[in-house]
Point group: C2
Chain length 249, copies 2
DNA sequence: CGTAACCTTGACGTATATCAAGGCCAGTGG
DNA sequence: CCACTGGCCTTGATATACGTCAAGGTTACG
């Protein structure tokens, strides 16, 4: 699946978001990264733990989840290759949620210590990491808006829009098609709706010729239509630096 | 309303959350703070702006809000005295949401430049600020769980629990009573429910003798009962350092 | 070829939205 | 001091998006 230098995916992503000084690129590529293959539905970090490393996602998808005491699960965000979903563990000891793989994934583990040192030695890297953490929290805010104000159809559409744009940054959604090993039940938990309703909503998206969704492959058939249904505005992703935008179909 | 050194409120709060080195306390108390009174419903920072200062809330409440294109408003979080809701503006230029006062408030403006310098000169302050930003994003994640998985009654109860705990950190909720200038319509927009339903839910909380809510004053009558209804677990607030916990009634 | 995970469908129930009206209170102007 | 006003809360009637239950169908995989 993923070949070559493990941090190259992260660098690709960063170059789309920030002006990556070659010095910072140096520092990043010298980080020790232990690559590991994860099976599907594997918990990389669990709520209540105190991690000692960060996870750089190299291939596949991860998601954050959190459960209330009644057992209902909420998915809090998805991650695409190039993301480091648990940067916050550098500063907040206890994990307040669980990080899980959606489908099988390839993850690079970077020890906190090494990352801390790299950050201390490179103000540019420090700024980059801050931006990454803050963008993550901006995405969480949009997720609140999504669940709090939009109907189920728009919620599902919105998540699809977000994923496509984020995948395009790392060039994983050519022709608006992408691998998506996330079940309808997972989508339901991400949107705060029931599995049955998620299914009906997805069928509606298909019926409107907005998306094709077969097995684990999703294709956006009508980007503008989907954006309209989703009420999607990509500003919250803070990609302004790159100017990379999804291509219309 | 608020008297004395403007940053003393922040220091009070920080002492409840981190082990505040006296050096950091020094740095903080030397920050230039321009104090300003805000009327109710005043937008301190608006979506799309590029702020040049941060807002230290000294008295009253602020909240973040964001609107979809259909005009439906979502409140993303509330802030209590001692909070700095827009620390992220130090690193993300464009505001992706609006910051508004709930009731009249007293705010101290700190120029980005001064704050950046202080952070650069004090690694302790740097860690503190990071913790503050990351706690904010942990709160956002719990907000997602709240809206995504819980029924309206629990949603409202949960927000009340969170506010009480956060107020107690700065000693503003003695005897489980606090000033709460947030209308039922605002609560509705915070919970992702309609105003009418918010009203009915609040009446239900009253009927169960969990809270008293008259005008702009809220009193928790049965903390344990409210926590149960809300499915509230304060870990996500990351107050572990203080050991400050709400007193039961 | 069997089994389990996942998707799909229908019938029915309910939490919550919407609409519309009325009530209460605080502040304002005469 | 009283009528007036606007904001907020309250209430009832009705509508609907979505949940739940239960069963059957499909697909992937060993």
């Amino acid at each position: 699946m993923h070949t070559g230098h493990p941090q190259s995916r992260w660098i690709t992503r960063l170059e789309a978001v920030v002006d990556l000084a070659s010095a910072a690129r140096e520092v990043i590529s010298r980080l020790p990264v232990a690559v590991k293959n994860c099976p599907a539905d594997f918990d990389l970090v669990t709520q209540g733990e105190t991690p000692t490393h960060c996870c750089l996602l190299l291939d596949g998808y991860l998601y954050r989840q959190k459960q209330g005491s009644d057992g209902r699960r909420q998915i809090l965000s998805f991650y695409v290759p190039g993301d480091i979903p648990d940067l916050h563990s550098l500063h907040l000891g206890l994990m307040d949620h669980t990080l899980t793989s959606a489908g099988s994934a390839v993850v690079g583990f970077i020890p906190h210590e090494a990352l801390q040192q790299a950050i201390a030695s490179s103000p540019a890297l420090n700024r980059i990491i801050l931006r990454e953490m803050l963008t993550d929290s901006s995405i969480a805010r949009e997720w609140i808006l999504n669940i709090g104000t939009r109907q189920a159809l728009a919620r599902v559409a919105h998540i699809l829009c977000e994923i496509v744009v984020r995948l395009q940054v790392v060039d994983l959604a050519r022709d608006m098609a992408f691998h998506w090993p996330v079940s309808q039940a997972d989508m339901a938990d991400a949107c705060g709706i029931s599995t049955v309703h998620a299914n009906r909503v997805i069928q509606e998206l298909r019926a409107r010729n907005l998306v094709e969704w077969q097995g684990r492959k999703v294709t956006i058939l009508d980007w503008n239509g989907l954006v309209t249904v989703a009420d999607f505005a990509p500003g919250y992703l803070h990609l302004e630096h790159a100017g990379k935008r999804p291509r219309s179909v």
